[in-house]
Structure formats: structure tokens, C-alpha cells
């Protein structure tokens, strides 16, 4: 992906964010927002994302939004399970550290995996190093969907897709 | 627009969250380890952010939302910097590979 393409992409995202912040809109918001977004996007492209882009295009943004809803649907029942553990007077905990090797190879996918693990009740991502994900789980049963690889698969179908956005 | 006023609910939630935040102070005080204390500070930060938003809606003043956004960002910064300090044992201007 070319540097100019990256610049346009970053600046567009920043400009949209500026518009969200300044609702209700008027002309001076546009006048200030556009140069600010172009400048910040250019600086970010030149220094923060010099070697690669964040790897987020329109398709992936849609995928992430969809994935967020999917995630909430997974989280709520698991949260109730953890709630039961917390409220149980005997605290039925059996914490274990497990190491999972993920097939995902893209930055965004791995970060999404780590944050999904952290947000899913019962598991907490402790370390991410290459494809090794170290996970602390409250009891081994919580990590089932991680170990059998269905979590990796769900992420790669939502935001990996058949072709990358880059 | 709304014929039902939810303002009392917001005030109630707000007070409930403040009580929760004070309870979390206990963990910050008792520790026993440094990460526990940082964690307690982080938790109180999240609660405070929600309290700020609730305050803004309960008092019908939109500016509290911006305050909440700033507060959330600063609380995030504090947790990351504290974690990094814990990890490397020192703070650093820049990291070099």
C-alpha cells in the first residue's frame, strides 16, 4: 500500500472522528477539522505507521463492528457464569495458565484475539509473543473455545476475510 | 421528549457507583502487591468516567461528556505507564529495539 493511500485513509478516519466530536456541525468545524485531520494523518503515516498500515479498511471496519456485536453475545452468558463464581460463598476457582498457539498472522487479528480473550469472562490474556498466547483462566472449562480453535476461526472470518483490505 | 424522567435513576446509579469506588479503595490500601494497587486505581478510574457521564446527563450539561472522555484517556495512560514502570523497573523516554 502506498504512502499516499495510507495518508488518505488515516486522514479520512480522523476527519470523521472530528465531525463526530463537533456535532451539531457548522461551517467552521469543517474549516478547522479538515487541515487538522490532514496534518495528523500525514504525521501518523510518516512516523507511527511508517513500515505498515494499521491494516484497517472499510471492509474491516464493518467486520469489526459486526464482530463487536458477536462478541457481546458471547460475553453476556459467560459473564453470568463468572458472576456465579464470584457470588458463590465457596469460590470454586481452579486457575490455570495455558499457552495457545494461534494460526492468525496479522497484527490486527492477533490484537483482536488478545483483547477478545481478555474480555471473555474466565480467560485473561497475560502475554502475546509471536504466535504464542499465554492465557490465565479461572478454570480450564472457560478456555474450551480457545483451545479448539473456534475463536481463531471466528476472528479470521469476521475481519480476516477472503482478501485483505490493504 | 421523554414523558418518563429517568433522572432519579441516574442519581441512584451514580451514588451506587461512588460507593463501589470507595469499596475498591480497600484493595488499593490493602494490596498486597503493587499490581493490585494499580488495578484498584484503574477500576476507580473506570467508575469515575461513568459517574462523569451520568452527572452530565442528570444535570443536562453536555460538557461533562468531554470531561469524561479526557478522564478516560488519562486513566488509560496512567495504567499503561504504571504497568510499564513495573515491567522495566524504570521509566524511559523512548524504547529502542
Amino acid at each position: 500500500m502506498s504512502a499516499v493511500h495510507r495518508w488518505v485513509q488515516l486522514s479520512t478516519a480522523l476527519f470523521v472522528f472530528w465531525l463526530v466530536l463537533s456535532m451539531p456541525l457548522d461551517l467552521s468545524d469543517l474549516l478547522w477539522g479538515l487541515p487538522a485531520a490532514v496534518a495528523a494523518g500525514g504525521l501518523a503515516g510518516a512516523f507511527l505507521w511508517r513500515e505498515a498500515s494499521p491494516g484497517i479498511g472499510a471492509r474491516r471496519v464493518a467486520g469489526l463492528v459486526f464482530y463487536t456485536f458477536d462478541l457481546v453475545r458471547q460475553i453476556v452468558p459467560a459473564a453470568l457464569q463468572v458472576a456465579r463464581v464470584v457470588l458463590d460463598p465457596a469460590l470454586p476457582l481452579d486457575p490455570k495458565m495455558i499457552v495457545h498457539r494461534t494460526p492468525l498472522d496479522d497484527d490486527l487479528e492477533r490484537v483482536t484475539l488478545a483483547n477478545t480473550i481478555t474480555l471473555t469472562p474466565g480467560t485473561h490474556c497475560v502475554d502475546l509473543d509471536g504466535d504464542r498466547v499465554t492465557v490465565h483462566c479461572l478454570s480450564p472449562s472457560f478456555a474450551a473455545s480457545l483451545i479448539d480453535g473456534s475463536l481463531d476461526k471466528r476472528i479470521s472470518t469476521s475481519i480476516g476475510g477472503v482478501e485483505r483490505d490493504e | 421528549m421523554n414523558e418518563w424522567s429517568l433522572i432519579p435513576l441516574f442519581w441512584g446509579t451514580l451514588i451506587f457507583l461512588l460507593i463501589n469506588a470507595f469499596a475498591c479503595l480497600w484493595r488499593g490500601l490493602a494490596g498486597p502487591t503493587l499490581p493490585d494497587r494499580i488495578l484498584a486505581a484503574n477500576v476507580i478510574g473506570t467508575k469515575t468516567m461513568v459517574v462523569l457521564v451520568l452527572l452530565g446527563l442528570a444535570r443536562e450539561q453536555g460538557i461533562w461528556l468531554d470531561v469524561a472522555l479526557v478522564y478516560g484517556l488519562l486513566s488509560f495512560t496512567v495504567t499503561l505507564v504504571a504497568g510499564r514502570l513495573l515491567e522495566t523497573g524504570r521509566l524511559k523516554g523512548a524504547w529502542k529495539q
Binding site: F47, I56 | R59, L80, K92
Partner: protein, 236 residues
């Protein structure tokens, strides 16, 4: 041991004793701009009547800060800059960062790189809208400083050096002072006295935003500079 425990309990009680009246006071705060508020019944009646017209800003506080009391605000900006000078003189500027044994987590790295530009945009938004909304230069500066500190956790030293050289850091930190001094001197030809703002509303708004930008950028750079200086001094 017992004394330590007693000290802790005393501290907790004192903090609670401080927090309760503070929270009570915050709930009691009059709504901003409310005419019955004690602060607004005396001198400020005049400000309220003519402040927007004379101050050159839709937000009264900004008008007062940047126009009526511009000299005070200039003093504050100077104090912040001097604070950095003093800390830098005592602690050094920590420009020669050495190798750090533990690389940052890839998750933290990615998220900070992703959020960084958005934090910068939010900071600019707060700065530019300082003349309409509460907020402005100082608050935006805090956000910029937070962003610089966050970025410093994940950026390598060479990229930082390439982005901003040690020499330009000093100019960045002095931005607030310089912009203020410039606007103050420009007041002489434009309005006939130091810190005078011209009558033309458009020009007036541009100057106000320039002041806010100067305070914001200078303040942010100074805050980050304080953090770096103290962080550098800690590793002996």
C-alpha cells in the same frame, strides 16, 4: 508496625473526610453561567453584560482569560515553561535513551499507535473550540502531553529523534510563551496597547485560537518534557 497501620487508617479517614465535603460541594455547584450564583452577583455582572462583546470570544471564561486578564495568563504560561527549565536543569533532558530490556507488548504497541492520532485530533478539537466550549489550551495541552507520553512507551528512539530533534523540542516547549509575546506585541499596532485585540471579529477569533494553540502545544510539550526529565533521572 502498629504505628504504620495507625498512620494508614488516619490517612484513609482524612482522605474520606476531605472527599465527602468536596463531593457535597460539587453537587452544590451552581450551574455555569447561572445568574444567582454568588460569583456572578457582584463584579461579574459587568463582565456578563459586556464580556462577550469586549472579550472577543463566545465563551466568557476564555474571553476573560485571554483578553481582560491576558497578562495573568501570560504569567501562567511562563511559569509552566520555567518549571520545565528548572526540572531540566536539575534532572537533565534524558535524550540519550539506552537499550531497554523488555519490549512493549504487541497489543499495547498496536493499540497506542491506533489511538495516538485520534487522541491528537481530540486534543486539537478541545484547543480550537476553547473559545466556544469550556476547555481550551491548557486542557488540550494535557491531552497532547498524555499522547506524547503514551507514544514514548512504544516508539523507538531513532523514530523519535527523526520526528523531533532535541533542538526543536526546546522551540516546541517555548511555543506558548512565544505566541503570547507575539500577540501581545501585535496589540500595539492593532489596538494601540499591549495585549490589545483588534475590533474585527474574524481577526480577533483567529488571534484567540492562535493563543489557545500556543498554550496547548507548548503546554503539551512541556508536560511530556517534565515526564521525560523525571523518567530519565530515575534510571541512575
Amino acid at each position: 508496625m502498629n504505628r504504620r497501620r495507625a498512620g494508614r487508617i488516619l490517612t484513609a479517614v482524612l482522605i474520606a473526610a476531605l472527599a465527602v465535603p468536596l463531593m457535597y460541594g460539587m453537587v452544590q455547584l451552581p450551574a455555569p453561567g447561572h445568574a444567582d450564583a454568588p460569583a456572578h452577583t457582584n463584579v461579574s455582572a459587568g463582565y456578563i453584560e459586556r464580556g462577550a462583546e469586549l472579550g472577543g470570544s463566545e465563551n466568557l471564561v476564555t474571553g476573560v482569560l485571554l483578553n481582560f486578564r491576558a497578562l495573568d495568563t501570560f504569567g501562567e504560561v511562563l511559569v509552566i515553561f520555567t518549571a520545565w527549565l528548572a526540572v531540566a536543569a536539575v534532572a537533565g533532558t534524558a535524550s540519550n535513551a539506552e537499550r531497554d530490556p523488555v519490549p512493549p507488548s504487541p497489543v499495547v504497541d498496536y493499540v497506542i499507535r491506533l489511538l495516538g492520532p485520534f487522541i491528537a485530533i481530540f486534543a486539537l478539537f478541545v484547543i480550537v473550540n476553547g473559545h466556544v466550549l469550556p476547555g481550551g489550551g491548557f486542557q488540550g495541552g494535557v491531552l497532547l502531553g498524555a499522547m506524547l507520553i503514551l507514544l514514548s512507551l512504544v516508539m523507538d528512539a531513532e523514530t523519535v529523534a527523526r520526528a523531533v530533534s532535541a533542538r526543536s523540542w526546546i522551540w516546541l516547549r517555548a511555543t506558548g510563551v512565544l505566541v503570547f509575546a507575539m500577540v501581545a506585541v501585535m496589540g500595539l499596532p492593532l489596538a494601540g496597547y499591549l495585549f490589545g485585540l483588534p475590533d474585527e471579529p474574524g481577526l480577533r477569533q483567529v488571534l484567540t485560537v492562535a493563543l489557545e494553540l500556543g498554550i496547548g502545544i507548548g503546554g503539551g510539550a512541556v508536560l511530556a518534557g517534565l515526564f521525560f526529565a523525571i523518567a530519565g533521572a530515575d534510571r541512575s
